[in-house]
């Protein structure tokens, strides 16, 4: 009952659904991952990545065909934060850019994830990063 009266607004249950560990820090520079034959790089500007401010997300995809646009899903690991999708428009050479906002979570948990889903590819690519509140 105490849990349902909850003191865990965005605290999450990370152990249940922690995405793969990642050593790259997006606040220092772009982060890259492999997804099948594709090589995906994510960059967020301006840095440090700050909540409640407009951010520019840039995804670069190499090794596969180009798409018209991509979608980037923003969420907190282990906690449902609603559907926050950024539309990334192709700007040439495998680059896709779009603007979005990361909302502040009043639990002060700072770990967020950006998920890139490539149509026709078997899995999603998840980037983890800390956000400044």
């Amino acid at each position: 009952m105490l849990l349902s009266l909850g003191l865990h607004p965005c605290a999450g249950h990370a152990a249940d659904s922690t995405p793969p560990a990642q050593t790259c820090d997006i606040n220092r520079g772009p982060c890259s991952q492999k997804a099948g034959t594709a090589h995906i790089t994510l960059d967020i500007a301006p840095k440090p990545v700050t909540a409640m401010k407009e951010l520019t997300f840039t995804v670069t995809v190499a090794g596969i065909k180009e798409y018209e646009e991509l979608r980037l899903k923003l969420n907190m690991p282990g906690m449902y934060m609603g559907t926050n999708e950024v539309r990334l428009v192709r700007s040439g050479n495998g680059r896709y850019t779009g603007k979005g906002v990361i909302p502040r979570c009043h639990s002060n948990k700072r770990l967020w994830s950006a998920t890139v889903e490539l149509p026709g590819q078997p899995s999603e690519t998840v980037f983890l990063f800390n956000v400044l509140y």
Partner: protein, 217 residues
């Protein structure tokens, strides 16, 4: 957006708003669903208005800054009220003394508002105010409303789209909060003192947390 509110209601709002729901649902004199419905209608109205403004301007970041300041004031006020309410519900503070002593303050008036048993109509304005509680989930919905405004053909269309999106979002959260409120009310009638004490402790802790988060940088 309705689905986002629905799933968020169970996965997020029950945690965030649980103590607030307990504050009005556990009152012994409240046996009707009407106060809960009015409270939620007020909350959804606030969401819809903010969503409309987001859609009108097409900007989340530009609108949220002044709103956030007000939200923090509301959150700090609610935190104080919840601590006092928790003490009253737990029997650690005589209700008459608490209301009487606090009536000169905003917090005291809010407590009196919440604890007044006969006025279901008071719950609509209470919902209007508490709709400003800062919340990551509702921020996400506001971001969607601002996005709709960017792509709208006119400002009026943006306003209507933003308002509609937030209305649907708020409506989606309704089942979870009504269910929680009803469960607490039924359990409260059955277990009375034990549940009141447990929820009182949760309310005090959550109230302190709300206040801390509102005033911390």
């Amino acid at each position: 957006m309705l689905a986002s509110g629905f799933f968020g209601g169970f996965g997020h709002c029950m945690g965030m708003c649980g103590p607030v729901v307990a504050a009005y649902a556990l009152h012994p004199a409240r046996t009707s669903l009407l106060p809960q419905l009015l409270y939620n209608l007020g909350r959804i109205t606030t969401y819809s208005i903010i969503g409309g403004i987001m859609g009108l301007t097409g900007s989340f970041a530009g609108v949220i800054a002044p709103v956030e300041n007000f939200q923090n004031i509301v959150m700090a006020g609610i935190g104080i009220v919840m601590v006092v309410m928790g003490c009253a519900v737990g029997g650690w503070l005589p209700l008459k003394l608490e209301i009487g002593a606090g009536c000169g303050t905003v917090a005291g008036r809010m407590v009196a508002f919440v604890t007044a048993s006969g006025s279901a109509g008071a719950f609509f304005p209470m919902g209007l105010i508490l709709g400003f509680i800062p919340c990551g989930l509702s921020y996400t919905a506001f971001i969607a409303a601002a996005g709709a405004g960017v792509h709208a053909a006119s400002r009026a269309e943006g306003f209507l789209q933003g308002m509609s999106l937030l209305f649907l979002f708020g409506a989606g959260t309704l089942p979870a909060l009504l269910l929680l409120g009803s469960l607490l009310r039924v359990l409260g009638q059955q277990t009375r003192l034990k549940l009141y004490r447990a929820s009182a402790i949760a309310m005090i802790a959550a109230g302190a947390l709300f206040f801390y988060r509102a005033v911390s940088p």
